[in-house]
Assembly symmetry: C3
Homo-oligomer: 339 residues x 3
């Protein structure tokens, strides 16, 4: 078959490669030299192209190599976070599974928030000045990696006190956001342009350091230790959602797809994730989205409760992507799923 | 085959429908009009009867429709919580998988506690007056939805102080219960009247808002924010139990089954859940039971570690129910599994 | 086939038995009389030898019975914790899957720490006197079962104050260890002497009482209740790791295998677990290892995301062990996998 699935060695590459093979497609890995051994262990790449880093995807020889194999790149979080995404979207001359323009929106906090709002989805409030604050907030410092230096304030006065103490200046980079108290859920959706349908394939919550270790430290010790929370993803934990909440999440997912069609045509294609906090089962706030495969899907490489309902055993998100590519190829509709 | 599996569209309906189909039985969905689209997405219902709400199950035309299809209703949590259960048990003239009388016991706090005690199972202590309190307690307000307004007190004095502060009157509705410190576990059992055996098919813990978000808020911020815990189920997280604890849980499960046979003949039939807190691996307190399928089984629609031991791949609780119905039908013993 | 898989009825025996059967090997259970009913429920033992307790494995008739069936014992945590391991390793005259000498190292805190250090793996610092302490520490009392009596101190002064208050004397048994703030992860590895390769088959985190219940108690109530944490394993929760962290964990796993070859020849054989805390995704501290199957693998009796990548469906650690035994038997290399 003159079509293959390519991805970069990180994030959810193992799943994407395996999914391609399970659907009978050739699996191509753009493998960073430093991780050659890791990916060799799993023996999943039919073709392996060694690169120095993700920026090498823009090298002309790499691109022509990919094009000669009829490769379609499946983008993931590392591509969003580790390249100049605007440049990548413009200069990468290999078909991408999904809407490449959306990757830019995902990587820009303002565009992201606007897209969610235009979709009519509730997002946490943002405050442009400490004086406006009238609820608990989380303060995000510009360039703070892994949430280092983020802090919580219980209200306006507490915020002003903490800003004064830490000597942080209010400037354009400082982001003051409503702190929503509730549990996080990350449902994994797939929008099929071939079927015109949204599918739910899994749900997880993130496992973050050190914030998910705080609960194991008694309150009195926490006060002694003066631990500051950080929010770096180490892994994921599987979940299922209360069945009566599914309708609401599908509604959010469809509003999101609809908004992308209007604002970023041709709109959403393939996997996305609605990153939400539930104040109550009926009161859901969306603080982020991902417009591509998320790492939480790695929990379900061997299938999920939801994918079993739709497809029986072994349908991961990576395989669902490969399936859509295969079906589009077989019906000569590849242009519907790549950009 | 002149037998079909019916359920109401909520809670664990997707699993129940899929289980029926996996066992070769017709799957009938009583679908609330507002969730028609949700259930259509999964294409699992062979027959779909639109209703306005769960109370429509008592409509005569709905019942005769079900009876004409040889339907057996699989009850779940929504039926317990959203209908007048006594009326339902009396007036619903369609066979129910399980012991319909037990649904009444499950929905009544006093009967429930009595059943557990008569089974010789340790339950948290309950106090009829604040003056009796000699340990940490959790206070549950009458009609408090989702645990809103529940609060913890460290002992008698703290309780009296908090009751005075909040102006809550001690009355018949106020429920003062020992607060057991320990982790929660929810093992999912199935009692087969055909085999005369209890099976363990999975274990989960609940994921509740907002109480499962508290651990991620540093203690100092919790004190500032003054967050009050609520206990509304948003989802479930899979577990396995320490193997040396299984014997104890089977013992509890069998005592429970035994007690139901004595007190609520013909006793337990099918799925149930023992909702427990482990102070230590050997010191287990049971604070609730469910005498029907629980939503935590949705984690294992594609099979669980335990169901794999017994049945190999893909045996969910929903499928186990359908399997029991099919076997009972084939051996003309349906009267053993329905009431 | 003149080879069978034997194990003792506890810990991960169900998985080990099932794995043997899935690989076509005879499954032999050394079953404590008190758990006869438990293991009968699962019908997994082809041969069942009733014993009073784990120390009966040293009985001559038991050993000759095992040897007559060509049994290879798969050791697990109960054998480490419940017998005099030095005596067992010396006197048990039945082949053991794995390196029996390593079981001694695992059960000795000093040898264990030395092995990790010699492998060049970062471990939490240990302090021989309170005066040396310059960071948060956790203090472990000698013989404290299940972490009862463990406590945290924020530094030297806090430690001295707490030691004085509790009247605990500093002696050889008291173990003062750096308290590393971060999330715990338990990756399950398998080292195949036949392939000369390390495989990753799953990841979990433990679910411990009561420490994993603390996060659900509001900070203000924790302060009132004065809850002391305990660390007794009740179960396990599945995880996947961030893909970019896998390289680092494989590196640690291979250093570990390498060090065992040097220090405890013939070195690691079969399953092991690296028990780690992640301060950040890049900063990983290893506080323990297990040189045999861990109970967290029970999560993946029906397969894991990682085992699916390597083997497709249904490859548990128990089955992986049986597979290695079968392959070694078929190629007459059993001596490579047993000691």
């Amino acid at each position: 078959m003159k079509v293959s699935v390519a991805t970069y060695g990180s994030h959810s590459a193992l799943q994407i490669l395996r999914g391609a093979k399970d659907e009978g497609l050739k699996a191509v890995l753009l493998c960073p030299r430093s991780r050659h051994r890791l990916y060799e262990r799993f023996r999943l790449a039919d073709e392996l192209i060694l690169v120095e880093g993700v920026e090498d995807l823009l090298r002309e020889d790499v691109q022509s190599n990919l094009n000669s194999m009829g490769s379609i790149l499946v983008p993931h979080g590392t591509i969003i976070s580790d390249v100049d995404i605007k440049k990548f979207v413009k200069d990468f001359k290999v078909p991408i599974f999904g809407n490449r323009e959306l990757l830019i929106w995902e990587s820009d906090r303002e565009l992201k928030e606007m897209l969610l709002k235009k979709a009519g989805i509730e997002v946490p409030r943002a405050f442009s000045s400490p004086d406006e604050v009238d609820c608990p907030v989380i303060v995000k410092l510009p360039g703070a990696e892994g949430g280092r230096g983020y802090f919580i304030a219980s209200g306006r006065e507490d915020l002003i006190k903490k800003l004064t103490e830490t000597g942080v200046r209010m400037n354009r980079g400082l982001y003051i956001q409503e702190y929503v108290v509730g549990v996080t859920v990350y449902p994994h959706f797939f929008y099929s342009p071939l079927k015109g349908e949204v599918e739910l394939l899994g749900v997880d919550r993130r496992y973050e350091t050190n914030v998910d270790s705080l609960g194991r430290i008694p309150a009195s010790d926490q006060l002694n230790l003066g631990v500051q929370p950080t929010y770096e993803v180490v892994g994921n934990i599987p979940l299922v959602l209360r069945e009566s909440m599914l309708e609401k999440f599908f509604d959010i997912a469809e509003r999101f797809v609809e908004a992308t069609k209007r604002l970023v045509p041709p709109g959403m294609i393939g996997p996305f994730c609605i990153e939400a906090i539930c104040r109550t089962p009926d009161d859901i706030v969306v603080f982020e989205f991902s417009a591509r495969i998320v790492a939480g899907t790695n929990l379900f490489i061997n299938g999920s409760p939801y994918s079993y309902l739709l497809y029986g055993e072994g349908m991961s998100m990576g395989r669902r992507i490969a399936k859509e590519i295969r079906l589009a190829y077989e019906t000569s509709e590849l242009e519907k799923v790549v950009t």
